[in-house]
Each structure stands twice: as C-alpha cells, then as structure tokens.
C-alpha cells in the first residue's frame, strides 16, 4: 500500500540513509522537547506545590492578662498567625474561644466547626456553641451536642506565662 513506503519530499522512495536520518531527527526533536519541558516544568511545578510540604514553625501568641478572663466564662480572643506574609492583612488574624475553667486551667477552642469549618458562635446564657452554616451545636466543653459535626471542637494549646494567657498558633483544623 502507498502508506507503507516512506517517501522523500519529492515523492520518490526514500533511501535507507534518509530513513535513518529522518528517524534520528524525529527522535532528537522529541527527546529535546521532553528535556526542555522537564527543565521548565520541574521548577514551575515545584514553585506551586512546594508550600504543600513546608510546615511553618508555630509560635505562642499572648491573648490577654489572666485577670481579663473570669472563671467559668468563654471569651472570643484574636491573635495573628505564625509567619504571616507581609501582604496578608486582616486575613492573618485567627479567632479562638477561650474558656477559663478554674483558677489555672484554660481551654482554647478553634472557632472552626468540625463539619465544614464555618465559625461557631458562643451563646453565653445557653452555654452552647452554634454554627450558622448547617446547624451544628456544641456544649461548653466542645463536645458535639447536635447536628452534623462529626468531631468535638478542636483545641489549641494554651498556657499561662508571666501572668499572660498565651495560645499556640495552629494550622486551620481540617476534619479528616
């Protein structure tokens, strides 16, 4: 069949040297193209994907003096994320619900509902956290009271140092 016989550009049957040369140029082009793509794509993909693998060091942030928080109350506190980029602006802030259990014990709850991450609100007199998105409810100890959340409210590490309450920054808790 006509297609089985390779031809030169003027239609005559190609010689063995031309076939070898043509195949060589084909393969050379493909290999060079692959090599060129590789040396470009590796740093580009690395640039985009590298942040996935880099964990930033977490730090302790002060959120108030110990006397600012009454025993048995839950208060909203705000702190800045660790290693925030200079152009993050207000997005580098994180809120937490800080509960003073007794003289020396604090619990810091993440505001992120464990269902899908919406910020839960604290109803003081009801002593419940309620999520506005899908109706999740938590008790004052963070355990699930009602609705779709699969897990209790995540907790941040909290300590008292030199009369100040400090919370350890944390990645946004993602329910797995």
């Amino acid at each position: 069949m006509k297609d089985d016989i390779e031809t030169t550009s003027c239609g005559a049957a190609a010689s063995p040297e031309e076939l070898t040369r043509r195949k060589f140029f084909e393969r050379l082009s493909i290999v060079l193209f692959g090599f060129g793509s590789f040396i470009l794509l590796v740093p580009m993909v690395g640039f985009v994907v590298a942040p996935l693998f880099k964990r930033r060091p977490e730090v302790w942030r002060p959120v108030g003096a110990i006397d600012d928080f009454k025993i048995g109350t839950t208060t909203a506190v705000v702190f800045y994320d660790a290693a925030a980029l200079p152009w993050a602006g207000v997005a580098s802030k994180t809120a937490a619900w800080l509960r003073r259990v007794d003289q020396a014990t604090f619990i810091a709850f993440s505001v992120n509902c464990t269902h899908l991450g919406c910020p839960v609100r604290w109803l003081d007199q009801a002593e419940l956290f309620m999520c506005p998105c899908h109706g999740g409810v938590y008790y004052k100890d963070g355990s699930v009271a009602a609705g779709p959340p699969p897990l209790p409210l995540p907790r941040y590490q909290v300590r008292v140092k030199s009369g100040k309450v400090e919370i350890r920054t944390n990645p946004t808790p993602i329910t797995r």
């Binding site: 693998f53 993050a88 580098s92 109706g135 779709p148 944390n170 946004t172 993602i174």
Partner: protein, 458 residues
Amino acid sequence: MDDRTGLADMIGPMLRHLVPRDARWWYVFGSATMCAFMIQVISGIALAFAYIPSTNDAYATLNFITDQAPFGRFLRGLHYYGASAMVLMVGLHMAQVFLFGSYKFPRELNWATGVLLLGFTLVMGFTGQLLRWDQTAVWSVVVAAEQAGRVPLIGDWLARFTLGGDTVGGATLNRFFVIHVFIMPALIFAFVGLHLLLVLRHGISEPPTPGKPVDPKTYRQEYKELVETTGKPFWPDAAWRDVVFCVAMIVVMALLALILGPPALGKAPDPSIIAANPRPDWYLLWYFAVLALLPHGTEEYFMVFGPLLAGIILIILPFVFNRGERSARRRPWSIAAVILTVIMIGTLWVAGAKSKWSPNFNAEPLSEKVVGATSGPVFDGAHLFFARGCLSCHLIGTTGGRRGPNLTTIGSLLSRDQLILRIANGGVNMPAYASTLTPKEMDDLVAFLQSRKLPAQQ
C-alpha cells in the same frame, strides 16, 4: 488583506456550513453560553484594571470599583449576572442536547467535552465568588478546604493547597485568581475550540424524529443527504436566532446590572470576625443544602464520591447509549431524568435559600402579649426559653428559628412528661439540657411550653 490573510477562505466555509432547516430556537443555548462567556472575559478584563488580587488589598479595590470607579458598579453587576447567565445557559444547553438525543453517534465526544466544560463553568463560578474577597469568601475557602481534606490519602495536601498554606493568609487569594483568570479560561478556550471543531465535523444535529433511531452504519450518509438537500447555511439563516437570543440575554443582564446592581460586599475578609453567615451564590445554593441535609455519617462519602460519580455517569453516557431512538417521546427515561434533576435541584435551591437549619441568632425575647404573663413560672419559663437558646431553633408564633419543630401550640400536643424527656435528652439535632437546667428551671420551662395551646384550648 483577504488575499494575504486568506481569512474569507478559512472562516467562510465554517460560517456557511449547512445545518438542518428545522434546527431553530431550541438550538440557541450553546451559543448563548459562549456569548455569556465572552461577556465574562471582556468584563473580567475590565475589572482587572482596578482589582488587586492581594489578600490585603482586594477588599479595598472592590469597594473602590463598586462605589467610586466610573461604571464600576455596572461592570461588577454585569460580571455577576454574566456568571449566572452562563450557568443557566449551560444547564439549558445540556438539557436540550440530552432530550434531543444529540449526544448519540457520532457526537459522543461533543457531549464529553461539553461535560468537562460544565465542570469548568461551575469551577469558574465558585472561584469567581472567592475573588469577591469579603467575609463570605474567606469562610467559603475554609469550607472548600474542609471538603478537599475529606479526600482519602491526599486530603491533607489538597486542603493545604486550597488554603495556600496552613491557614487563610497572604497566599490564599492569588491561587484562586490564577485558577479563575489563567488556568480555567485557558482550559475553557481549548475545550470550546475542540467542542466547536467537533460541531463542524459532525454538523448540527437534526431535530429527532420518533421511530427513526440512530444506526451508526447509516447515520452519516442519511445526515449528509438531509443537509445537502434541505439544509441551510448556518450564517445567516440559522445564526440570526443565536444573535437575537444573545442580544436579548445581554439586555436582560445589563438591566439587572443597572437596576439591581452587583451582590453587596460583606464584611471585611477577617477570619477573626466570628459573626458570619457564609452562603454560596445562587447556582451553588442547592449543594449547600445537600451538605446540610445529608444523613449523618454519609458526608465524607458523598463529598468525595458524589461529584466523582456524577461526572463519570455524565461522561460515559454517550458511549453506553450511543445508538437507538433519539426522540424524547420514545425515551421516557430521558424526560424523567431531566424532570427529576430539575425538581431535585429546584427544591434543594429553595431549601438552601431558606436554610431553616441555621439558628436564628437575631431572635428577640418574646413580648408580654405573646407570653401572656408578667410573673410566675410561665414568665420565668419564657425568659429561659430565650436565654437558653431555644428560641434560636424553635418558633413561638412568628418569633424564633426554624431548625426545630414549631412550638407555638406544643402544649396541646405533648404531655408534661414528654416535654421533660425531650428537653432533658435532646435529639439528633437538639442538645440535651439535663445537665444545664436546675429542677426549678425545668419546671418553669415546661410550664411555659404547656401554656402554648391551640386557640380552641386557650
């Protein structure tokens, strides 16, 4: 110019390719989708002259565009209604193609590329709402990251990729700008190009005839004969309808943008502002309802496998059912599928708009007139009903939330013991109050609820 460029020779045959004479108004939705997309590209480019995709600056530039920039409010509105139009038109186009059986031989790949374009359109809608970088956008990113995190094995990485790190921060907004402005449009241009090439290759499908099934052995020849004997050139004999519909769509979009304006910007994109009520734009409100209404314990499976399964079913459809009857009159399942889909999305959309599952954080204490007492157990119980959060989820008259049952006349329905059991033990969607109410408080609360009677019994 034409001799040097050869444009007329290239484009002319494409424009004048023959189409079936009966392909009329039902066929305008595909070009309407593309028209909406072109409007999005143009208005998006215009907006990009003022919008800064930086986490710190985006909100301020949005306020500037809306309130100060000449035509800014109109442009933002046009871009929003353009997105809405694109979603609506792509849905109508898909329904029309499905009902006409046009996905069958030889147009299977037209359908497959179209399904991908549908997915790209929804991604554009979602990422576009995120670029409206306000409080809702911040929480929408977190919600997206939470869903990404549910994917097995790579969920953690996907979540961190969505956030741009460990938390919402400086790297979060840019990635959605890149996806919305570079990656997705490039994919859409590529696949629309492919989609149109396939349309030119296989021709516009003729309206189906009941009793005339698709037979791959004979279809191509029959189609060729049809268009050569009774077909018309696409331009202008058929294209005029596309133009009329597109212009009408543009006029509606422009009027909406002028009269209603763009969606209002929410509060600043500050994750430390806890009082938030995040909602997606209307075209994803139905999915928001799905996430609220899924049975407990199924969310993980649905979030990951639901969209995947839907995508797979849609893409393989033409390869499984690529022959046989095209007319919907001989394919009752196709009509049922479209009706059921419309009803499902429609009812979920209404449910999402009402979102009764959200507590009412703005409920005011019940008035004296409603309570019917100024002292005693009923009065104290009414106060507790508000203070303990019951009113956030239950209605008394017209006040309160709709998460739980309406308790306006609960005193006529449940006995005292039943009320105590329910309040003490709670339920799947209700907290248990046994450990937080004293016996006197329980008595007062129940006394109040028992006073809520049907009118005849009051």
